[in-house]
Subunit: 139 residues, 2 copies
DNA sequence: GTAGACCTTGACGCGGACGTCAAGGCCAGC
DNA sequence: GCTGGCCTTGACGTCCGCGTCAAGGTCTAC
């Protein structure tokens, strides 16, 4: 299939696919006319990338998983390198959550203290904290 | 004092200070020769900015606090606008922590499963792992 | 043979908080 | 007068994951 079809089937954009190829992450073979040609295996790798991105993985960190699939393994995480990334990410997440939790508490008491001398109001959420360890940058 | 001294006393850089001024966040008066001139009050506002940045605040979100100080209030959070930002940030933090915690758990079980099947050298058809919960990433 | 839907590469834009030159002005000390 | 250290205003670079043109090639349908 061509790039447009793959993008549509995976719910992404052709720009993203070209970006992945530029990174050497998801390389396509070329048809005679120069068009990129993808197959079901590529779709599979793409879905792997998307699943990990949803977890907050950076593209580089999805590479071992994609490589693992390309090497013929049954799953993207059927390889040591992938497992290692899982572990690292978990550690980063733990650290990140701990850090945010501490900030949350300090900020909470800060607010409590400030409110002692003040009136009130209201507002709404919208997460955009990003850990230095870089986990769940939301945006 | 001049920009270099302020930067050093606060443990930041002259570039950051110029950046704050460009944003209208920490404006300096000018000496006869065009040099920026700061006083102790400015140092105070700067420290307020730094304290909030350490909490993960964006520069724009520190503005109410700085303005509050500049208006002569005893603390940066002695104003309604600041309190409101506190509340919004707390809500953001809560949402963020909740999101990361969920990701952490999903990732944890993903790892557990991968380790299991990998250790057994077997491959089991795991439920389509494109858990496309459009949580983090782009928005 | 022509419209139009697809594809190609190239390259700039964005957002945040600055880092890092570059070219030049100002001032103290020797 | 000169060196050196401070300061000034630009303005581009960085990191990330693409978005968004732009100019042009390719293929299908009518």
């Amino acid at each position: 299939m061509r790039i447009g079809e793959l993008a549509e089937r995976a719910g992404t954009t052709t720009r993203a696919l070209r970006h992945y190829e530029a990174l050497g992450l998801l390389r396509a073979r070329r048809a005679g006319n120069g068009y990129r040609a993808y197959d079901e295996q590529d779709l599979r790798m793409l879905r792997q990338i998307q699943a990990l991105r949803a977890f907050g993985f950076e593209l580089e960190d999805t590479r071992p998983f994609v490589d693992c699939l390309r090497a013929g393994h049954p799953e993207g995480d059927s390889c040591d390198a992938s497992i290692e990334v899982y572990r690292r990410k978990l550690a980063e997440l733990d650290e990140c959550i701990a850090r945010l939790t501490e900030v949350r508490e300090r900020l909470g008491s800060q607010l409590a203290h400030a409110e002692l001398t003040f009136a009130e109001g209201a507002s709404e959420p919208r997460c955009e904290f990003s850990c230095e360890a870089d986990e769940g940058s939301t945006r």
